[in-house]
Amino acid sequence: MIGLNDYAPIVGQEVIDQLQRLAERLGPRRFIHVNSTRAGGGVAEILYRAVPLLQQLGLDVKWEVIHGDQKFFEITKAMHNALQGYKVHLSPAMLDHYREINRENARKFTWESDFVLVHDPQPAYLINFLRPQAKHWIWRCHIDASRPERHVWKFLQEIVSQYEASVFSMSQFAQNLPHPQYLIRPSIDPLSEKNRELTTAEVQEVLDRLEIERDKPIILQVSRFDSFKDPVGVIEAFRMVRRHTPCKLVLAGGEAIDDPEGPRIFAEVMEAAKDEPDIQILLLPPDAHHEVNALQRAADIIVQKSTREGFGLTVTEAMWKGKPVIGGAVGGIVLQLRDYTTGFLVHSPEGCAFRIRYLLHRPEMARRMGKMAREFVRQHFLTTRNIRDYLTLMILRENPTERIMEL
């Protein structure tokens, strides 16, 4: 079992010591996370490691998952898209179903807690049924809600306003809410199967199994097959690069059980990529962490050409592997990539093609940017920082009137 001390060689012993001191000051609080899936997507990945680490720090932590039928997840996916700005219509019957599934889930939860952190819209309505069971209710929004669709946001705003605070991944996602809003940037786990160091043989084994030859530079995008990730735009960019420079494109898409749109987008991608032997499309299961790790380490350039993005953890993962990353200039990608330092931001398939060519012709520059990217992630986006933020947030919420809390 991975323990806190295993992170010391990566982040430094002082960071681990600090977490222990902070947790001691906080004391043994009960802390519950609620989300809608145990596998697939960035939230589940964060919780998978954060929960046991918080337990090791002496907190009594539970991770609860709400269950729902396909209709419920279609509704919450529509909410998710609406928060990201898409026009969607949710009928009164759909909203009733959303409330009803939350009510059914609430019946199963008998815990009592000091803190509850409810992740994203799916379980947000639980507060209506469970409020007395916890002292502090905090809503954690992982979605790019910078320009939400008005009707859906009004519906959610009423629910979220009942929480005592909310947490967003970026300052631009903050909303007009009657309570304090905090910023906690997401994180990746450097010891997880998706991010741990791999040997050359391990990488090669995955490439062999997935039938990817390393005969040309590999351009990679790893993301769910979702229109906001613009996989078709990546194929367009690749085709432009290919006119000048030999390379191959790998699009590796995971599926998440809360995403009913996946299959349709996947079909569109297959159509765009047909008759092109240097494009490989991989539909990977949600637990293909080892494969994703190997693909990222084998890639020469990693792309994340999103048109909307919460934070973009795939960018963080790629940076951690010391790769130059080209990302769409949206959401958290803007925060992570700085032109010529830690990556490139692009605004179009043409821009993406231009930067791919730029890096393919300047391997030394690509290496230097990858190295800087890794250091940036080490300092700001690893699990240990997320744990520290949770502890700090709890201390602040227990003393809500203090802006500077001296312990």
Binding site: Q18, S171, Q181, L335, D339, T392
Partner: protein, 230 residues
Amino acid sequence: MKISPDQPAENPFAFRECFLMPMPIGKKAINLRELLQAVRELDESVLYYHIFQSRLAIAQPGEEYPNEFARWAATALQDIKLAEKLSSFDPFDYDNLAQVRQAVVDILEEYLWDIPYVPWARSGFEFYFCEASTVVMRSQIRADTLLKFCESLRKVGLDSMYYHFFEARWRLGVRKADDFSFWIETNFGLPELVAAIRGIDIYFYSLREIRDTLLGLIHQHLGELCDRTQ
């Protein structure tokens, strides 16, 4: 003046740790005029965040600009001339945040006065205002000799560097000097070392660079002493 590395301090140095939780306030600026208006009106805590605290919250490696206004001018407005002006202003030249605010307002006003257009941020690069809540914790790391002080500097996080060089000076309004040089001065004298530490161009350096520079200075002044901590 020679002192023993084990000479005890009258008052041990108690390192503090500083945990920052940024709090977006839901306001943004999409052009320079809006930034100016916001700098005039927003709470000092917001100004403080973007001029000082943001370097603890997040900083790119090799960050070129010392505050977020300068960086925004360069990357979002793509106006290097303005970025140069905002980078060269030093908030440590002023006694309080009201004066710092006025200095930033003056730079922005003068700049807008001289140009026939209002620079706009490119899409996706709007300036989002934040403030922060802070948890300050007395660390268990204490130094009662210079030898231990050197050891401790390597053990504490960058947040401690931030706290003792920035937070204590501004937020708590204690004194002009940083905590480290004040402690060395009041416990050991060592005027040359104290002057050298106070001469560090801290606003321009990253927190990591400040720590390395500080260790370098102590090493230079007390070579033998510092070597024993390696």
